[in-house]
């Protein structure tokens, strides 16, 4: 069915799409916000470890389900395997209103100045497409501030000496340390490091009419039962709807962007309740994630754009990246577990940049979110303890409350052949070709990860761990919940997909706004950067669209 026209169709109601919809609606534009998943209420997802965002053995509580969705993944070199959303190699984020922000850990990091000019600082290693961003930290700073205040971030101004200049304090004080963070903070100071409370998109005090965090341990991987975790589902999206200018439509699976001519999109086609609807519009914003946004552009290929929309460069779907997670575990004689969530509370940025031995980039180090029992039994086991039997049971029993972990999202060197491609040989539940995800991470990432893992271990030892061991990233393509890079932002249309305001170079009225536009992904959880870019792009987009009407 062909619907009455709107000004803008935003495809994807996640971290970025929710903000773009809100900002354009506030600017007086009529917005249709499409989301393939449902709007979830807390009781629908609950506190079930086996069906959470981290442990998906019984499915993804935040979508998509295992029926209807499928991908091909390169699980070993040259070997592509069919994978379902609940399997790690699928590289799922979520499919629900709020997207990944419904269940994220909610660390709310600003990238550092150097993260935006990595090539100038370090030079690109051979085999990497590492480059400078077309925007700087100072371009984005006001929008980081806006994101912190509009979405709501708790933090301590001035506590991180490595942080870039900020124009305004956090709107809420930092969450207090838990037992583990207190022990780790003291240890880091003894090492001469600079620990501080992690900035979190979680209310430390009542904010915007929603309550403070109640400290439940089910935080990362779950929705918040009191709405103290600041997803776009409880912030930007309700405000967008309240303008009367934005209609949120759930259960809408986008099929393609329909072009009016070689340069202008005319509408978006999508499946809803088994029917195909067409929403005419003046502009389209693609905010589907770094795996699904390129897919929509590929699926929208025309005679003029045979390789997909925005893909004259051949860069759509390229440079898929996430983080090369390194870390360490430590066992202690005393109990550190206090059940207080979110358990991740302390971090340091001493190793985000400036590493020795020519290593480029680095990572923020933070103590890990709570390990729920099943995950602990499988993954927090030192190499010399068996994975089953009475010794394993005794180990879990003795150390469940006497362990700590430090994890670090190591900044990756982008690789052109880490990519999302259309997979015409495999169709999803709507009969549309799905994607295949392939490539190998840059070998350099493992060198940095090795150095960072050793720092994580050093931190735990200083904190008094009696035994420690490290964890290293694998060699396969990276993406996952931090997926980014597949529609790179740049000034040169030959080596990027969108311009500095996220508009596709090749087209007049199509934007990509999500982690896809990141040139590199920082040594941090990327959600606040995705959101700052969403505010930055929306401001320009609103001006452009109003002047055109």
């Amino acid at each position: 069915m062909k619907l009455a026209p709107v000004d803008v169709v935003v495809v994807g109601a996640g971290a970025a799409g929710g903000i773009v919809a809100e900002q354009l609606a506030l600017a007086g534009l009529r917005v249709a916000l499409l989301e393939r998943g449902p709007r979830l209420a807390f009781p629908q997802t609950g506190h079930d470890e086996l069906r959470s965002q981290r442990t998906t053995v019984l499915g993804n509580a935040f979508g998509p389900e295992d029926h209807g969705y499928v991908r091909l993944a390169e699980t070993s070199p040259g070997q592509f395997r069919r994978v379902l959303p609940s399997q790690g190699a699928y590289n799922n984020i979520a499919a629900c209103v709020g997207g990944g922000t419904m269940s994220y850990g909610a660390m709310a990091w600003r990238f550092l100045e150097r993260d935006f000019r990595m090539k100038s600082v370090y030079g690109a290693p051979a085999g990497s497409t590492l480059d400078d961003w077309p925007i700087s930290y100072s371009d984005l700073e006001p929008f980081y501030t806006k994101a912190e205040w509009e979405i709501g971030v708790s933090g301590k101004r001035g506590a991180n000496p490595f942080e870039a200049a900020r124009s305004k304090a956090y709107p809420m004080p930092a969450l207090p340390y838990n037992t583990e963070a207190g022990v780790l903070d003291a240890a880091a100071r003894r090492l001469g490091w600079h620990p501080f409370p992690i900035p979190m998109a979680i209310n430390s005090i009542a904010y915007q009419g929603r309550p403070a965090c109640i400290g439940c341990p089910h935080c990362v991987g779950f929705a918040c039962e009191v709405n103290a975790k600041n997803s776009t589902a409880v912030t930007a999206i309700p405000r967008a709807i309240a303008t009367g200018q934005c209609e949120l439509r759930t259960g809408c699976q986008a099929r393609r962007i329909v072009m009016a001519d070689g340069a202008r999109a005319a509408s978006v086609e999508y499946f809803r309740d088994g029917a195909l609807d067409e929403q005419p519009c003046r502009a389209v914003v693609v905010s589907c994630s770094a795996t699904e946004s390129p897919r929509l552009l590929f699926q929208s290929a025309t005679r003029v754009h045979p390789r997909g929309l925005g893909n004259s460069s051949g860069w759509v779907g390229r440079n898929l990246q996430g983080h090369a997670y390194a870390g360490a575990y430590g066992l202690f004689e005393q109990e550190l577990f206090d059940g207080l969530g979110p358990a991740a509370r302390v971090a340091c940025c001493d190793f985000s940049h400036g590493l020795p031995n020519g290593l480029k980039g680095g990572a923020m180090l933070a103590n890990e979110f709570i390990r729920l029992p099943y995950l602990f039994s499988r993954s927090v086991v030192p190499p010399d303890v068996p994975l089953w039997g009475i010794k394993h049971k005794r180990y879990v029993r003795q150390y469940y409350k006497r362990s700590a972990s430090v994890k670090a999202p190591v900044q990756e060197m982008p690789v052109f052949d880490c990519r999302v491609e259309l997979a015409p040989e495999l169709t999803d539940g709507w009969g549309m070709p799905t994607v295949k995800i392939g490539g190998r991470r840059h070998p350099f990432d493992r060198d940095v990860a090795r150095f960072i893992a050793a720092r994580c271990e050093e931190w735990l030892k200083e904190a008094g761990a009696s035994r420690t061991w490290t964890s290293m990233p694998g060699a396969g393509v990276s993406g996952g919940q931090h997926q980014a890079g597949t529609c790179r932002m740049g000034n040169d249309p030959k080596t990027s997909v969108v311009d500095r305001f996220c508009r596709i170079h090749d087209l007049d009225n199509v934007w990509v706004v999500d982690g896809s536009v990141h040139v590199n992904n920082g040594g941090f959880n990327p959600s606040l950067t995705i959101q700052a870019i969403a505010y930055w792009a929306s401001a320009r987009m609103a001006r452009d669209l109003r002047s055109r009407s």
Binding site: H47, D48, L58, L340, Y374, S377, R378, G389, K401
Partner: protein, 159 residues
């Protein structure tokens, strides 16, 4: 009288899964899975996998989110049983605890890939059933959470 007494004993020894009914596994498979899972997580002063209902967890999930493993259970159970009988001339459930552990160690360390894959799948699902939420049929009476002294944390809020 003798028969009645035997029937009574059989009832008294009936495993948890028998009382709660099976959906996907047959009784022979359930006995095997129970014996494997109870070797993966044996009872000590806290319940093991059998008493905490891991078989019910696996049986029910094979009819739902774990349906893609159903065939692997069917085929794997047969191969596993055959391998055990070839070595011990008895079913795995009839072996004593030490023999069970030795047999599984051998498969885990150097067994043929098919058997090793089957065992590791059962071991993983055993951990899920034992440590996961009771709503899925395992972790009866929150046995593992009581063992870890985290019932208050898992049920509600620590503070």
């Amino acid at each position: 009288m003798q028969i009645q007494r035997r029937a009574f004993l059989a009832l008294a020894a009936a495993p948890a899964w028998a009382e709660r009914g099976l959906v996907t596994l047959d009784a022979g498979e359930a006995r095997l899975i129970e014996a494997i899972s109870d070797t993966v997580i044996p009872a000590d002063d806290a319940p093991g996998a059998a008493a905490s209902g891991v078989v019910t967890y696996i049986d029910r999930q094979l009819a739902g989110p774990l349906a893609r493993f159903r065939e692997a259970y069917r085929v794997g159970a047969g191969q596993f049983d055959a391998a055990c009988r070839a070595q011990h001339a008895r079913s795995f459930a009839e072996l004593d605890a030490d023999a069970r552990t030795a047999f599984l160690h051998n498969i885990d360390a150097q067994g043929p890939p098919a058997l090793r894959g089957f065992f590791r799948m059962v071991a993983d699902h055993t951990m899920q059933g034992f440590y996961g939420s009771p709503v899925h049929g395992g972790n009866r009476g929150e046995a593992s959470w009581r063992m870890l002294a985290i019932v208050d944390v898992m049920e509600g809020h620590a503070h």
